[in-house]
């Protein structure tokens, strides 16, 4: 029996994975293939895939060929697209066909998305007619929709089957499908009419028929549904899988909960990137080369640079004021940063609230008004601290009052804008995360500087 490589409480699972990684490389260098095979036997497929990805490119094919057929397919499905493509180039034609033919349909569709069209055409020809149709069906849908994500590998039952007949059918098909814990009940036209779980089957009396034990109130979705909505349905209704139908209710496929975990993570990353003024096209930032990185980041930076230049003109408009009391300029960074921080806080809660649907019961005006008042309270506290601080440390009450007052106004402005602009963007049909901290900061800076120097003009120049 191979050594049990479960983690103990002292060795973490990730440390174990590193150990396996190093051992594998060592054994392959020594050409000890039997040892390498034995090493991999108790390892989970996703971990084997990661180990192969981290091998030097020349060793990856050898590492992969250590695996038996079933494990090889599962491991292949877990590999990064880059490595999947590289391996295909090294494989003999028969190996390629064997893998591609036996992959699950949704994973094959994902692979075909990454390959050049020429290669896809060659590979498609090697598929059985059934597999070719299933794959083409998936690829016919828009990326990131339920249709593209779903797998057609589920089990359908007819309503009039007895429990025994149903179990027979499941036994025949279960080996080759991805989802067997839910069984979907369809009518003669293949329309979805009910759902049964394996547990329901087990608890039923043998003489009953499916129609008697099935649930008719099914949660389902349409093929053109956005992946975010699919994820939210599965999350909201605690499902293990979501059936996908066309506009006439014909059952076409199923999206499983493990896909949803990845979707939720990708959607959160997309929001987080947008809130940090970055494009996110779904590719790994750390895989891209430096020119792609610059291409990814310069759009937002350019837009922000352009809009920010308005601050230059505002300040030059108040040139006289600044010349007279140079010290006024010392406080612009403080005011700008404070406005930025408050705006960031407000926009963060609103954008995230919209994203997680936790704002659904609340009125927009209530949220914005609340932020306005909160901004007022926060600005009051910070304003008083500043007035006192400037008075005691710099001994300039006029300037202190100007800065403190401006801080109050800027804070209210920042909180209100920070809360309001995401709502505005959403109502215009845009992603609220786009109207995020960097943009709000720019708006607040421009208005805030104008307010600050206007107040300064009133207070300080009249006193001076």
């Amino acid at each position: 029996m191979p050594t049990d490589i479960s983690p103990s409480s002292t060795v973490s699972r990730s440390e174990l994975r590193e150990l396996v990684q190093r051992q594998l490389e060592l054994l392959l260098e020594q050409k000890n293939y039997e040892g390498a095979k034995a090493l991999l036997i108790p390892v989970q497929p996703v971990d084997i895939a990661e180990a192969i990805e981290n091998l030097p490119e020349t060793m990856q094919v050898i590492g992969f060929r250590l695996l038996n057929q079933t494990t090889a397919i599962t491991v292949y499905e877990y590999l990064e697209p880059k490595v999947q493509v590289a391996l295909l180039e090294h494989f003999k034609e028969q190996e390629v066909i064997s893998i591609v033919e036996n992959m699950s349909t949704d994973e094959r569709a994902k692979l075909f998305e990454e390959l050049p069209a020429k290669i896809v055409r060659q590979l498609i020809n090697h598929l059985s007619l059934e597999e070719r149709q299933a794959t083409s069906l998936l690829l016919g849908y828009q990326p990131n929709t339920a249709g593209r994500l779903m797998t057609p590998d589920y089990i359908a039952l007819k309503q009039n089957l007895t429990i025994i007949e149903a179990e027979e059918r499941i036994r025949r098909l279960a080996q080759d499908v991805e989802v067997s814990y839910y069984l979907y009940v369809t009518d003669e036209q293949k329309r979805l009419v009910g759902i049964v779980s394996l547990k329901d089957l087990l608890l039923a009396k043998p003489e009953q028929i499916i129609e008697e034990i099935m649930t008719r109130d099914i949660v389902y979705s349409y093929t053109n549904c956005d992946r975010e909505e699919v994820a939210q349905l599965i999350q909201r209704y605690d499902l293990l899988a979501l059936p996908i139908v066309d506009q006439e209710q014909h059952l076409l496929g199923v999206v499983t909960v493990d896909d949803v975990l990845d979707i939720l993570e990708a959607e959160a990353t997309e929001d987080i990137y947008l809130m940090g003024a970055l494009q996110d096209d779904g590719d790994d930032y750390f895989q891209a080369n430096l020119f792609d990185v610059v291409k990814k980041r310069i759009p937002w930076l350019s837009i922000l640079l352009l809009t920010n230049s308005a601050t230059i003109f505002i300040m030059s408009g108040f040139e006289e004021v600044i010349e007279q009391v140079v010290a006024l300029s010392f406080f612009t960074p403080l005011l700008i940063d404070a406005g930025g921080n408050v705006g960031a806080q407000s926009s963060t809660v609103v954008i995230r609230g919209l994203s997680t649907k936790s704002l659904q019961g609340k009125k927009t005006t209530w949220v914005i008004l609340r932020e306005l008042i909160a901004g007022g309270l926060l600005g009051l506290i910070m304003g008083i601290v500043v007035i006192v601080g400037v008075f005691f440390i710099l001994g300039k009450p006029d300037i202190g009052l100007t800065v403190g007052l401006s801080l109050l106004v800027i804070t209210i402005l920042a909180a209100t804008t920070g809360a309001g602009l995401p709502f505005l963007f959403k109502s215009l049909g845009f992603d609220p995360a786009l109207m995020s901290a960097p943009f709000i900061t720019t708006v607040v800076d421009i208005l805030g500087l104008f307010i600050y120097f206007s107040i300064a003009q009133a207070i300080v120049m009249n006193g001076a």
Copy 2:
């Protein structure tokens, strides 16, 4: 048969929920309880819970009492803690006992966390000994650990059972457990030794025993494991549930994938809030009253205000320079914002990369160096644009050169700091998201202003 209220392609599911909401309120106002009962029959429990939450408080108890016992328990588990507590106060003692006794153990533990200790003690006394022990066990673990999240409602099998005996056992227990698609195999001491799926059972020959068909390579976790790690294990290995053991491998409970969806969302929210300079204690921001909101936001704002005040002293140190060329001050907002945006981009990708473990194979120095170079390229592009812009629009090549050069240095600084500080924080054992955009902006501002005016002193004053 009640009307089928499945969504069509024209009416969305959320519109349907609103319809049900309004109908329910109407029927209850008219005291048409039979109609209200019929309305709710095809509605999913989580949607019934939301409808009850949105009822006026006086109607909530009546709405809840429309439900049959089984549905009532499930709906109760979905209610917000606030409403759960309110209902308990209205229920008769027998109703309270009936609900609390029949809740699933992990949901009951969650409820007890929300209730005042006095009430919990009363309720605990009404539980059966078994339920009381199970609940106390869960509450004995730290919040947000596997021990607190797990449910003890799973099915365990012995290795020597035949398939028929196993199915018998499952039939007896399946009605009352949460997880029946995975069956956990334990030895005489209740240590976890294997796992079997319902599908495996169905495909096995009746004369086999469990030991022959079980999988020994199990992914599991310990009771003191952080909820984030639990979520990552379930996500990585595509599990529907994760078994939880103690230090001696005794099986104590199971965390299900639906909990993980909620964990992933909560963890993402925590990160997003931190990156927006907000505390996140898990409570809904929009449920808190205004004083709690101010309490939540003022700590970070105060710290940032304090650290930002260093900018005042830096600029006052260069008072002569600014007095001589007042126009220099016009560009401070632009430089600060540009630095802030670049720093936000860099810190965002690094913090998110650490969070999703996508940085695990990469060396820290490589990531930081890469950001440094990217910052240099971005700064070069932006610097040239600024130099040209200032030259053509303001006609001041000296100032243009100063600003452009400073922009380059500030951008490199911002990218490097933005990437490096999260790593530093992580190595010191802190949450990298803490060292987020607001903090990095402050650091970059202080250094950036110093660099800007130093360069200005060199270029502009020597020329002037």
